[in-house]
Amino acid sequence: MTSPFVLSQSDGRPMYLQIIEQIRLRITVGDWQPGFKLPSIRELAVATRVSVITVKRAYQELEKDGVIITRQGKGSYVAEIDGLDLKLRREELDQHLQEAIAVARGLGIDQEELLARLKALLADEPE
């Protein structure tokens, strides 16, 4: 198998989340189009040097999220949904924004202030 994913033990996030992220990324950038056949769980495990059970878990989560579809005895495929890449792009962004919301809440920053901060940061951003 070519192009194994780059996974890091010092990343801090569980391996299965890193695998999910790498697969989502390939779909988002269009390398893996809808209908693309994913490597088998065992193939990906061997190629990435990560246990079979970890890759299995990543596939199960992706299936639950509707990103991939597994056909019994045939393998897993990227779901054939119109605009899947846009959907994944949005979900990726939402995830980060939700983290920011949680942090703001923990610091006692209200919605208005959070929006103001976001606008201020956007305004500071160089072109």
Binding site: Q9, G12, R42, V46, R49, V50, S51, V52, I53, G106
Partner: protein
């Protein structure tokens, strides 16, 4: 055909004068890697010797590749590749000689694969065993076990004492075994990093008892370190799976092996605000498990220790 377990131990006991293995049960399914973790002297090697039929159990059942051990060990051993640090290789003979010897016994010996391993493990076939460094001996032993392409690999501390490059090469070869879904690996280690990356199942052993055996994902999922903020007069409630906790001013930390909504809700009900929920490494989990297992053992049996 129903697939038989690669390794199955049921309630195995073995007593020595100063050490006992108590009620050991474990199961390894085909196509999986099991990491067997324990501190020094926990009973890892003794368990492995029982599995290999090198030691007889006082009681309990041991089946390896469907064969009862040690009675059917001759039949079982055709399918097992075994390597341990104290393996008897002929000191005066070269690695080349050992490879030829294995080839003459085992029909499945893969000559090309053996050559590849010589390169990957950076070994020299013409070198005699007695002139080899510790790492070269370990790698030679692994090569001799791997190149037979056995259905089951039983490896006692295969990465101990190897440099990082050699360790990576060895782990790579172990993963390569799994291309074939009928083959399995059991390896013991006290290096939790190695085990965390490639194992499907993890078994913790301490003081002759198995303290936990689970699939790796469940292990990593259940354990969390929770950081929280408290208000005046906060009293920490009883929480499921809590092994450790610390309160420092208005900040608190706790470790639990059973994280879930119950922990969240009880903490919030007690007036704490959860600041962060952190994942733990297998090493941290291992230490927490051993500490809590030892803690329980000494409080329920405080007289046993002092005798």
């Amino acid at each position: 055909m129903m697939s038989t377990a690669a390794i199955e131990l049921n309630n195995v006991n073995k007593s020595y004068r100063y050490f006992a293995l108590s009620d050991i049960s474990l199961q390894l399914e085909p196509g999986h890697i099991m990491g067997f973790i324990g501190p020094n002297g926990a009973g890892k090697s003794t368990t492995i010797r029982l599995i290999m039929g090198l030691v007889h159990a006082d009681s309990g059942d041991i089946r390896v590749l469907g064969h009862a051990m040690p009675v059917e060990q001759v039949a079982a051993k055709w399918g097992i590749g075994f390597a341990s640090e104290d393996m008897n290789l002929y000191k005066a003979a070269t690695l080349e000689w050992h490879m030829g010897f294995m080839q003459s016994i085992y029909a499945d010996w893969d000559k090309d694969y053996a050559r590849q391993l010589v390169d990957r493990f950076d070994l020299r076939p013409e070198q005699r065993m007695k002139g080899m460094s510790h790492g070269q001996k370990v790698k030679s032993g692994l090569l001799l076990a791997l190149a037979r392409r056995p259905r089951l690999l039983v490896l006692d501390e295969p990465t101990t004492g190897l440099d990082p490059v050699a360790r990576t090469e060895v782990l790579n070869e172990l993963m390569e075994v799994l291309v074939d879904e009928d083959r399995s690996v059991l390896f013991s280690s006290h290096n939790t990093n190695d085990v965390e990356q490639i194992s499907d199942k993890i078994t913790f052993i301490d003081r002759g008892r198995i303290i936990e055996a689970q699939d790796k994902e469940s292990f990593l999922d259940r354990w969390r370190r929770v950081r929280f903020e408290t208000s005046a007069g906060f009293v920490l409630p009883e929480l499921p799976g809590m092994t450790e906790h610390r309160l420092d001013g208005s900040l608190g930390t706790l470790t639990t092996g059973n994280f879930g909504t119950e922990v969240r809700e009880k903490l919030q009900a007690a007036g704490a605000t959860i600041l962060a929920v952190d994942n733990m490494t297998l090493e941290e989990i291992f230490v927490a498990e051993v500490m809590s297992s030892r803690g329980t053992a000494s409080s329920s049996d405080s007289t046993g220790e002092s005798r």
